[in-house]
Symmetry: D2
Subunit: 118 residues, 4 copies
Amino acid sequence: MTEIDTLAEHLKTFATERDWGQFHTPKNLAMALAGETGELLAEFQWLTPAESAAIMEDGEAGSRVRAELADVFLYVVRLADVLGIDLIRSAHEKLEANARRYDADSYRGTARKAPPLS
Amino acid sequence: MTEIDTLAEHLKTFATERDWGQFHTPKNLAMALAGETGELLAEFQWLTPAESAAIMEDGEAGSRVRAELADVFLYVVRLADVLGIDLIRSAHEKLEANARRYDADSYRGTARKAPPLS
Amino acid sequence: MTEIDTLAEHLKTFATERDWGQFHTPKNLAMALAGETGELLAEFQWLTPAESAAIMEDGEAGSRVRAELADVFLYVVRLADVLGIDLIRSAHEKLEANARRYDADSYRGTARKAPPLS
Amino acid sequence: MTEIDTLAEHLKTFATERDWGQFHTPKNLAMALAGETGELLAEFQWLTPAESAAIMEDGEAGSRVRAELADVFLYVVRLADVLGIDLIRSAHEKLEANARRYDADSYRGTARKAPPLS
């Protein structure tokens, strides 16, 4: 069992023990994921790019960022499990598609022409 | 090397080959993550909960959802790598904290009292 | 002066009195807007569509929704002011463009073909 | 009739003519609002703060930002109308609450202590 499969199993058990499966439709989980992403954004909204790069050196802010990113990740894993999506496989497929779309020579050093990474 | 470490390495190489490291501040990556989450939301916004649960049976919509969730996941992995956060470890820690906060007996079957999962 | 102009003036004064103009770049304000939108989403995430339609009948939840939507609106107004965008005018232009794009006869009763309203 | 009331009326007619009222639950509209906010974010994600401040000078990017912000605003107005919320009034109430919470002397020049504007 991979580390993501193990986590997905734990999340499923967590939901089952609380009878929360009824709330975990893909629609609702996508909303919860977006809500957590909003909380993560809020940690960075007033920071300069340089301040954002040093955020983990600030104990309190660093802890909040770690916890918020964990929340986002938990919902990504739970949503993928509910939808039957293999996260690792689809991520590698998407990355390969991006590599074809944004060939290194054409897009070097510019984020203007197209959104990097996706 | 775990499956997430491998993916993080690929993403780092992808960014380096295009000289995109300069754009990948935590602030910018959090924004990109939120942008992709918005695209994922858009797939579910007009669906009933039941329709959302069956979305993978629709070939075209299913493919889009898989690709959007992959994009979200890629940014989660990239952001964690840039911040030096161990995703799997922080996810398990958050899940354990949630288990203490939402004990199964008190929160069974209700999502009203508190937000499930986080 | 219209009601939105008045509100924009108040927001500008509010920021100036706290010397917060330095933080109110369009990039940062867009992030803050998204963060507030995430808080609004969180109010609806576990509700059925029917429960969401009755949310204002619940005093506490209704107050939170009113406050969160106000926050979202405040950032929309502030961001438009900073960018020099006439909100009312651009909204009417967008609505007219949508009316041409989604003609009533072709799109009646279906949200599948295309995202309604935009 | 105020400018927002007029816009809300137009949006209502637009939805009615397409029989889209059935899709416009508060839950769905909040999702659509978040989806549009994500598109707005995407316009700013790779820009420096300074570049974001000059975005309207770029004809194409400026047009996209104007259109995306209009979309966000349209959903704010539509959601408020469906919920029976007076946007202008609740915005002024929220702003007054913020003025009490963030008194100018304590919060001058710092966005670290607390999130400005809300």
